[in-house]
Symmetry: C2
Subunit: 157 residues, 2 copies
């Protein structure tokens, strides 16, 4: 019941990018050093994030990576999905054949786990990288936003 190390690295890499001035491009090298992630391993993870459309990559001299959209529009769930694929807290939630009781209608364990998983997914979705970065480095002026909360951060929306 644990996240991959790669997912953890991905969280930290995206958070790092989210804390830069918007649009800033940095090389993998810099992220790796700053976050203490093995360089070649990080490159592999960054490719997953690129494929998922979470970051852009720029090749060639002066290349690097930048967020593909505003931090507020990237959730922990997005990053998880990009790195680990779909969340499945139990074998039987992935592959119905793996359920001895052949799925939810007859399997109370299955039903309970499905509900727990649903809540878990919602939780991961409720954190975005604007909130994690703790106020953007270039704060959006309050007037441009609706009154009240700008974005959710954790459980309560």
């Amino acid at each position: 019941m644990r996240l991959n190390q790669a997912t953890d690295y991905a969280f930290r890499a995206v958070l790092y990018l989210a804390q830069l001035p918007p649009g800033e491009v940095v090389e993998a090298q810099v992220i790796a050093r700053h976050e203490g992630i093995p360089m070649r391993f990080l490159l592999k993870i960054l490719r997953l994030l690129t494929k998922a459309g979470i970051i852009y990559s720029y090749r060639g001299v002066g290349g690097g990576y930048a967020l593909a959209r505003p931090p507020v529009e990237i959730t922990l769930l997005d990053v998880m999905l990009a790195v680990e694929g779909p969340v499945q807290i139990n074998r039987c939630l992935k592959d119905l054949g793996a359920c001895t009781k052949k799925g939810p209608p007859h399997c109370p364990v299955h039903r309970a786990l499905a509900s727990i998983q649903k809540t878990l997914i919602e939780q991961f979705k409720s954190y975005n990288f604007a909130c994690l970065a703790g106020g953007s480095p270039e704060p959006v002026p309050e007037v441009t936003k609706p009154a009240g909360k700008r974005f959710s951060c954790g459980g309560a929306n």
Copy 2:
């Protein structure tokens, strides 16, 4: 981000015992056949449950296993803890040294994951085996219980 197969087997084994008349002792053999769990592997799991005080084991001829307390007092969390040990959805929640930012005060990812984990644990705690068994085979008379819900089953208490 997945439960062990052993934990899943444990859920099913305990549920099976919970569905028997209270106090009934059955051999591992029977549980294994009924739930489609490899016999010797199940024995290993049952020993963990015994050590955790969730089931009793009876040795010798005519021996077997039975629940050590009423199903309503056994939660999914109890069984998980017995089989997998403490829930830690990220390395850094187990071992602070694994957090490059040295723990929650300076690490927003850490803080978010800790909160998600807390909710997850509460979820697993909110399911007991009376509710999973779907009404005990020998139903407790309504008069002995307070009005309203007898026990929680899932999210809402």
